[in-house]
């Protein structure tokens, strides 16, 4: 997002065009539903490059609503969205823990 400071860490998110599912861009320029596997950008240049990859994917009609989100490294060294809204978006509704990405990962947690 434009209001993010260049120094803050970021990742790129979007929605899968066909299903609407929340996805995150990886280093391999693929999309994952797991934010922990997303590419974490530490610089404006890197974010720019990742956005370029995401834009190509958007042009190929794979995803909608490409946007940068604030992210940071968790204690286990994996990245995760740092804002409440994006955390909810990544996991699913807080009032329905049986739905969304959180429902898929819960059994293994």
């Amino acid at each position: 997002m434009a209001d993010l400071k260049p120094a803050s860490s970021q990742m790129i998110s979007a929605n899968d065009l066909w299903t609407g599912q929340v996805v995150f861009l990886t280093r391999a320029a693929s999309w994952t539903t797991d934010p922990a596997r997303a590419a974490l950008s530490e610089s404006a240049e890197d974010s720019e490059a990742l956005l370029g990859l995401a834009a190509q994917s958007n042009a190929r009609a794979e995803v909608e609503l490409v946007h940068l989100i604030a992210a940071s490294l968790r204690d286990d060294g994996t990245p995760w969205p740092s804002r409440n809204r994006e955390d909810i978006r990544a996991l699913g509704p807080t009032v329905r823990r049986d739905l969304g990405y959180q429902a898929e990962v819960r059994p293994t947690l």
Partner: protein, 551 residues
């Protein structure tokens, strides 16, 4: 129920064919995201936080068992087993895929349903009193007028790209259950002894960022001139409404900035120009629409029923539900039954596919095949026999639909909030759940009586917080969810806008704050005053003092 004619059905089918084509072109990359966005929105398809959301229109909140069964089927096949009734008598699905959307819409069309007028800057789905055709209060059934406006406004070429969305409500009762004064246009049907049948026309009400109780532009508009007058209002708004700022684009801002008198003059000038050549509502057209409404043939029954009386006497829970959730019917031996979609601690407005099927079955078996959705996110069986009510309630109770809390503290209106909505700043549903649990645990809803709590997760006010006796607005304060409290709002015939009490509260604090407000009310109320009556008598001072202290 209104039945489609060939024209209605053809229109809906063509619309789906167009949308199917557009989806195929988007999926194959021939349409860009921007090009497609407008098309999907015109077909009720939004992209929310987690997935696509489809909003299905339920014109004036009326549906039959076949349609409700279809909604259940769609919840099972295309969604995750549930749907969500909204504050505009519509239903939303939270998880359908874009790929399957055309098939979903085709299934809806098979039962004369669609998603037209549920998105975009146009005249939205017209809402009406959920007790229409059943309450003795009304002048006449308002739904044929609502249907007339629906037909007139559907895909209206001049009014498909208004400065902003446009909402119309119609009621015909002294008691307003439609929040008529908070609409872009609110119509109140009446019979004047001298001037005959007509409408009071309210224009420029609304909630959102800048709430207004709409001023009355006309005390009496003859019914035959209704479409011409609507055209005059819409044309004036379409020309002068602001398109430079989305926050100032609703008609309420125009009416407010010009002043109601100046706006009325503009509308009357336009109306006078239109009237000589107007194709006024021909009575034949209204008659045609009336004929396509299946009016249930109600039986001649005694006013009392021994079976009902016995059940009412012996079963305390049933008695309580009847007292709280039913309303008198205009025909002897019948009653209006409200089905709460607000189980204690539940998600307001959510309903499972199985529950939808049950409601459909009950409507078909006992309710002359009629169901209504309310703007308060509940359902109604408008025509049930007193003698069947105990069976109905037992079936509802088993399915978790028998909560006796209509218009009580736990009957909370809440928007989807940050759990689902891309616009939200804070979550609404968990706050509603906690307040509901708190009241249920204390077992004092009955003591408190009528109390309307309404929660919005952002300033767009889909949760109607401005009109809540107690209103809650979720805001984002540096990444933290905070909640502002308003008191004294009302969405009924004596509409008012709630006033902010002071600084906001965090998630736990807002539940305590509501508790404090209710305790204050209980401490100050006289005789049988409702919360709103006490608040209006005392003003905000004692409540503020209880919340924030005297300092």
């Amino acid at each position: 129920m209104y039945r489609y004619d060939d024209y209605d059905q053809t229109l809906v089918n063509q619309r789906i064919a167009d949308f199917r084509d557009a989806v195929a072109r988007r999926l194959s990359g021939h349409l860009s995201e921007e090009e497609f966005k407008l098309i999907r929105q015109m077909n009720g398809v939004y992209l929310q936080l987690h997935a696509y959301m489809l909003r299905v229109a339920i014109p004036y909140g009326s549906l039959d068992s076949r349609q409700m069964h279809k909604l259940a089927h769609i919840a099972r096949i295309y969604d995750k087993g549930y749907g969500h009734f909204t504050t505009r008598q519509n239903i939303q699905y939270n998880w359908p895929s874009l790929r399957e959307m055309p098939d979903l819409l085709q299934e809806l069309a098979a039962v004369q349903m669609h998603a037209i007028q549920t998105s975009g800057n146009l005249i939205r789905n017209v809402t009406a009193d959920q007790y229409a055709g059943a309450t003795a209060e009304e002048v006449d059934d308002p739904r044929p007028y609502a249907e007339l406006i629906r037909q007139w406004s559907t895909l209206h070429p001049e009014f498909s790209f208004l400065p902003r969305k446009f909402k119309i409500a119609v009621t015909a009762s002294a008691t307003d259950r439609t929040a008529v004064k908070f609409h872009d246009i609110g119509l109140i049907l009446h019979d004047d002894p001298e001037q005959g049948r007509g409408f009071e026309v309210i224009v420029g009400g609304g909630m959102g960022r800048t709430p207004f109780v709409g001023p009355s532009l006309r005390d009496h508009l003859p019914e035959a001139q209704i479409l011409t007058y609507l055209e005059a209002v819409l044309r004036t708004y379409n020309e002068l409404g602001r398109r430079d700022n989305a926050y100032k684009a609703r008609i309420k801002i125009l009416v407010h900035e010009l002043g109601a008198e100046a706006f009325r003059t503009l509308v009357e000038d336009e109306f006078a120009k239109l009237l000589p050549q107007a194709d006024d509502l021909p009575q034949a057209e209204l008659l045609r629409i009336r004929e396509r409404f299946i009016v249930p043939e109600l039986d001649a029954l005694p006013a009392r029923d021994p079976g009902f009386d016995a059940a009412y006497e012996k079963d305390e829970d049933f008695r309580q539900w009847v007292k709280v959730n039913s309303a008198p019917h205009k025909v002897a031996g019948y009653i209006i039954a409200n089905i709460s979609l607000k189980p204690y601690g539940g998600i307001p407005g959510d309903i499972s596919a199985d529950q939808m099927d049950l409601v459909a079955d009950l409507a078909e078996r006992y309710g002359h095949d009629e169901i209504r959705a309310t703007h308060a996110q509940n359902l109604v069986l408008p025509h049930v026999k007193l003698r069947d009510l105990y069976d109905i309630w037992q079936a509802l109770s088993v399915a978790g639909l028998g909560t006796a809390n209509l218009d009580r503290a736990s009957d909370i209106i809440a928007c989807p909030g940050l759990d689902y909505c891309v616009l939200a700043n804070a979550r609404s549903i968990p706050i509603a759940q906690e307040i509901s649990k708190r009241f249920a645990a204390k077992g004092r809803e009955d003591l408190v009586g009528e109390l309307k709590i309404k929660i919005s997760g952002c300033i767009n006010a889909c949760g109607h917080h401005h009109a809540g006796h107690i209103g809650i607005l979720g805001v984002d304060r540096k990444g933290e969810e905070m909640y502002q409290l308003t008191l004294g709002g009302s969405g009924d015939e004596q509409a008012s806008i709630g006033q902010i009490t002071g600084r906001g509260f965090d998630e736990a604090g807002i539940v305590d704050a509501v508790d404090t407000v209710v305790e204050t009310y209980l401490g100050h109320r006289e005789d049988h005053e409702t919360f709103l009556e006490t608040y209006r008598r005392l003003g905000p001072a004692p409540f503020k003092e209880a919340l924030y202290g005297t300092a």
